[in-house]
Symmetry: C2
Subunit: 147 residues, 2 copies
């Protein structure tokens, strides 16, 4: 079992502001997929649509200002059944985000790609909260021939 | 055992150009640590110096245009004994880099930070090769309160 792990800090932001960007269609569409729809409540399914395809995430847990947990129920075969976990906390003037995408069966090349791509989208989330502007798909930063 | 994995593609670059950026003091100082010194040959030790401290990497393997392997012999306690592996290949007009930093004992918060930070430095390497300008420390992109 291999995991994707990341940590960023959003300067001048609070855990509640991060939580809002992770749990509202408006927030999610401003840093991850412009085309985001679905249900944001526990048990609901969020539908993220990208140029090459889509990802459906069922919301498993919502603890305001602290934790968000999704399970992938639709998307690339390697993603199905994996979970995406967001832990949020305050450290001084930074809202800290500990991110993990866990449950990958094998450390395939696509997993390497997704690890880097998550980092780039986390920087988009940081930018959104710090400057008001993120870089969601389709205007996100391309990292390779796999976009 | 948990690993940091990444994949980027450098448009319009060749594996030999990537290899040069990973195996020369000039290349390394243009995308990772401006203050890079030491020996670039197998068995030698590269000395990367950052604002908060330094990292020493012993060069374990060099296969031109294909592979570079380093072992961390000095630096943060969590890094000692870990290895940093670079695999390079061509795919169409992209030079693809598969990166792994393996041998971490625990998925500590610092590992989350280093995973994101490696992604940002890989984007610096990509920028260096695609545009001629990277973002090495100390003018690199800050990702959190841990820089």
């Amino acid at each position: 079992m291999v995991d994707i792990l990341h940590r960023i800090g959003v300067k001048g932001s609070s855990p509640d502001e991060v939580y809002e960007a992770l749990t509202t269609l408006g927030g999610l569409s401003d840093w991850w997929a412009t085309d985001t729809s679905g249900s944001v409540t526990v048990g609901g399914v969020l539908e993220f649509r990208f140029e090459p395809g889509g990802i459906d995430m069922q919301v498993l847990e919502l603890t305001p200002g602290e934790r968000v947990l999704w399970e992938v129920v639709g998307g690339p075969a390697e993603w199905i059944g994996t979970t995406v976990n967001w832990e949020i906390k305050q450290e001084g003037e930074y809202a800290i985000i500990l991110f993990s995408h866990v449950g990958w069966k094998e450390p395939v090349e696509f997993m390497h790609h997704c690890s880097t791509k998550w980092a780039v989208f986390l920087m988009s989330l940081k930018s959104l909260l710090e400057t008001g502007t993120g870089n969601p798909d389709p205007r996100d930063v391309a990292i390779s021939n796999w976009h």
